[in-house]
Symmetry: C2
Subunit: 521 residues, 2 copies
């Protein structure tokens, strides 16, 4: 195991070595030496009521036009020959949780950059955003890339605090861009990172810094979804790997016939990963945060729902089953959400952790005391880069298993349940999936996005996200484009999760599952 | 998900369907319609000092000869033509934890049985040993097998208490054998199940019951190993799947650079799975139960060993890592083992769980109180079919992570540690691996063992285990044989783990890793 980021490493095993041989595919428009850049309509925002606020917050980067990248039509559109183009200097940073395919964004960016002009230089920032602030770079070369092609993880560069938000952080980033004389900065991440990217782009324009800021949608959560973005890099792989593990657990459940498996799935607030995995692996029950939130189910209502299911199966002689639980579920339960929010606010007011329980509102304190100790401790844990509770550290599956067991014992004593004793086994599937080898789809998608990023910078676009449409079609039909980050923003008038972004501040928000949408049907 | 054992099911997905197409290979001696049975030397036991005790305990089945199965040499050795052979009636039962490949034992047994005489009948006992006692059977046919070929899990038949030990259980098993007029009973499992198989075989001979009892070595633990048995079905798959998951976690650890992952591996008392996984996935540290036991390390010595490693890595600027922990480690720590043994004895004396803590010896009580509540609760849990603590239910990885964190905080306060705050993430890899699709090796090995079982019964062998030698060679070089179960027995004079088998009673014991052996080097 090697912790020196970017140091050429031996690939772990034959599987990894074989994976490295895969050559990602490119759509026709990216196969030539040049692309044709076509400008479309000016954009507003996906949130009309928020348009004014967004326009005010982003005076220089709001309302930019959509851009699509096309195959040049004949010599006319061919643009400058390679040797006439100036070399280009680009930096790339990993921000946000590692997702399978992230390395291929860097690979694609590097290949496009060298094709654009072999003299061009690509810097990777070591240790994520902290490396960006401190100007710690690694020059990306073929040698460096050799052992990271089509590999999982973010270990080529690593990641850290995943924030470019405070004015201190923003100006540190700007200084680095100036010191390296960068033409472009590519920020790889999800909703939070891309909101930060938009803010940085706006600031750099205002300060006449030439560096163009480009966002790339990479996130295992699948919650960065809108009219411009069909899915994020990593989601496909993570769902496939988790589904395989869940299928194994289902087999195990049937074989022993005596356990209920509570499987919590990484994926943040929205239930995209859990829903997709349920579709692929057919567990017995999926508890979707969006449903719970919609019907405002209390914690005990959720518990009773599960217990009724256990009881119904027992009457069929089945004393086993598999439940899927999105890691964000806990925030979707109204009173739990309110509790987490109170804790979060106390955190933000720098109340010491030990003091927090004493400063909760009476009813929140009551709920807090009702919860088992291990959950209390976890709720007080430090928080994510977006200031939301650190969901991956809250053992929601153990909380539910604990309460379901208590309820089943109660029902047994009351004679309402006559089946065998309820026993559970808890799992959290996340880390083992997000580190896995990327699927062909994610390898291709990430590699293509890397190429698009270069062309965006070459075209002088800033405050844009690299996007691909028609992803359900074969690669040769993919449509490559760039969409203004501001066009994906909305303004929250009420908090939806412990304030990822303060009320009223425009941002790209996680999109929950649309319970009326196709995917859900 | 389908809980009706043996009901033909749709295969879960394309992967499963594709896997079902694999045709396991057979060595030459099993490819014809007949085999040549060759008898070798009479056997003693692998434990000379225990030979007398074993001989006394198994008067009718001790000292039987080794048997090998060879390709018939010409018409002479061809034996009876198929149509002269009487149909044969066989039952098969899953005993012990499900391991990838178990289904192929049934498949191989079925194919050999029908090739022997198409009128032959194979019964599977539904719900494991409980099904055997209650004579709940499913006739195994091509249709039934269709959706279980090369599939993981034991869901074709299921499993239950995994014991044929008490005289009540033994006589229930015998009654079933007589009611079904079975020529043979095939018991699929690990050390415990095969010890029980030997006992049942001896009893049936003594009671003049014609049913031959045959054991098949299937166990993910890899601890059923001796001069006759090279490895068990499932071990290969479980190690490969776990190693892939561990590699993913390693990548994740390097990427984020902020967590220590404590990964506990299913595999019972011995560390075979953990050692093999360490060889395949290169974690930062492996804590082998056998080493801890050999050097008699106390719990705090183990903790300090880990903390020293964490500290040394911090001085290199590394604040992440991956540790592998065998689930049996907890029993290898002398004082923990003694505590578990006291609890186990109180269990066996039917002391109610709530009373146990009050009846511990003073020092055991002190240790018990020192442990975090979640571990205390788990130590009091009910026990395995072999009366040992239910290791899979004890969160050893969380115990270690908990104590390591406390120690690192202590070292920080004392100024001995100056690195970043220690944080951990805990995993238990077991269920998701043991339910997975079997590797080609396990598919072949299990299918071959199924064939051998039939030929053993046809040859009238009882109290034997089906074995294959030269497993490291290609299948065509495999040597098929049968070894007397009594020859694998030894007599424990002091308890090695909370009394799987009472002191002095001959049994097949789990073989620990030989710290001087090749595998370990």
């Amino acid at each position: 195991m090697n912790a020196d980021y970017g140091a050429p490493t031996e690939l772990a095993g034959p599987l990894q070595q074989r994976r490295a041989l895969y050559q990602p595919r490119l759509p026709p428009c990216l196969q030539g030496a040049t692309v044709r850049v076509e400008y479309g309509d000016a954009t507003a925002t996906i949130d009309p009521t928020g348009a004014h606020a967004v326009a005010q917050a982003f005076p220089r980067t709001y309302g930019q036009r959509l851009v699509t990248f096309l195959t040049p039509d004949g010599a006319a559109g061919a643009g400058k020959a390679v040797d006439e183009r100036p070399p280009i200097r680009v930096g790339v940073v990993f921000s946000g949780r590692q997702s399978p395919g992230g390395h291929n964004v860097v690979w694609g960016l590097h290949d496009a950059l060298k094709a654009y002009n072999p003299q061009s230089i690509l810097y990777g920032f070591i240790g994520g955003t902290e490396g960006l602030f401190a100007n710690k770079t690694l020059e990306i070369t073929d040698d460096v890339l050799a052992s990271y092609k089509n590999q999982g993880g973010f270990d080529l560069l690593g990641r850290s605090i995943d924030q470019i938000r405070s004015s201190k952080q923003v100006s540190a980033a700007m200084t680095t861009c100036q010191d390296l004389n960068l033409d472009g900065l590519v920020i790889v991440g999800g909703v939070t990172s891309n909101s930060d990217a938009a803010q940085l782009a706006e600031t750099l324009v205002q300060k006449n810094c030439k560096t163009k800021v480009v966002g790339v949608p990479v996130s295992l959560n699948g919650d960065l979804k809108n009219q411009f973005v069909e899915t994020t890099v990593g989601f496909d792989t993570v769902c496939k790997v988790n589904s395989q593990l869940i299928s194994n657990v289902c087999l195990d459940a049937i074989s022993a016939g005596k356990y209920y498996y509570f499987v919590r799935l990484m994926g943040r607030k929205a239930s995209h990963v859990a829903l997709e995995c349920a579709l692929q692996s057919h567990p017995n029950m999926l508890i979707m945060g969006e449903e719970v939130a919609l019907s405002k189910l209390t914690l005990m209502e959720v518990i009773n729902k599960i217990c009724d299911g256990v009881q119904a199966r027992a009457e069929l002689g089945k004393h086993h089953g598999v439940l899927l639980i999105p890691e964000g579920l806990i925030e979707s339960i109204p009173e739990m959400y309110a509790l987490i929010q109170e804790i979060s606010n106390l955190h933000n007011n720098n109340v010491p952790v030990t003091e927090i329980p004493t400063q909760l509102s009476p009813w929140a304190a009551a709920l807090f005391q009702f919860l088992p100790p291990f959950i209390r401790r976890e709720l007080l844990l430090h928080q994510e880069s977006d200031n939301s509770a650190q969901l991956s550290q809250i053992d929601t599956e153990q909380l539910l298993a604990h309460l379901v067991e208590a309820e089943m014992i109660k029902r047994t004593k009351e004679g309402r349940y006559k089946g065998k004793k309820f026993s559970s086994v808890c799992h959290f599937f996340g880390y083992q999936a997000r580190g896995s080898l990327p699927s062909n789809f994610d390898c291709d998608y990430a590699y293509v996005l890397g190429h698009i990023s270069l062309h965006m910078i070459a075209a002088g676009l800033t405050g844009y996200m690299a996007t691909v449409a028609n992803l359900k079609d074969p690669v040769h039909k993919w449509r490559c484009a760039a969409a203004p980050l501001t066009a994906m923003m909305s303004v929250r008038r009420h908090l939806r999760g412990p304030g990822a972004i303060p009320i009223g501040k425009p941002a790209i928000h996680p999109s929950p599952i649309d319970l009326k949408g196709k995917a859900y049907e």
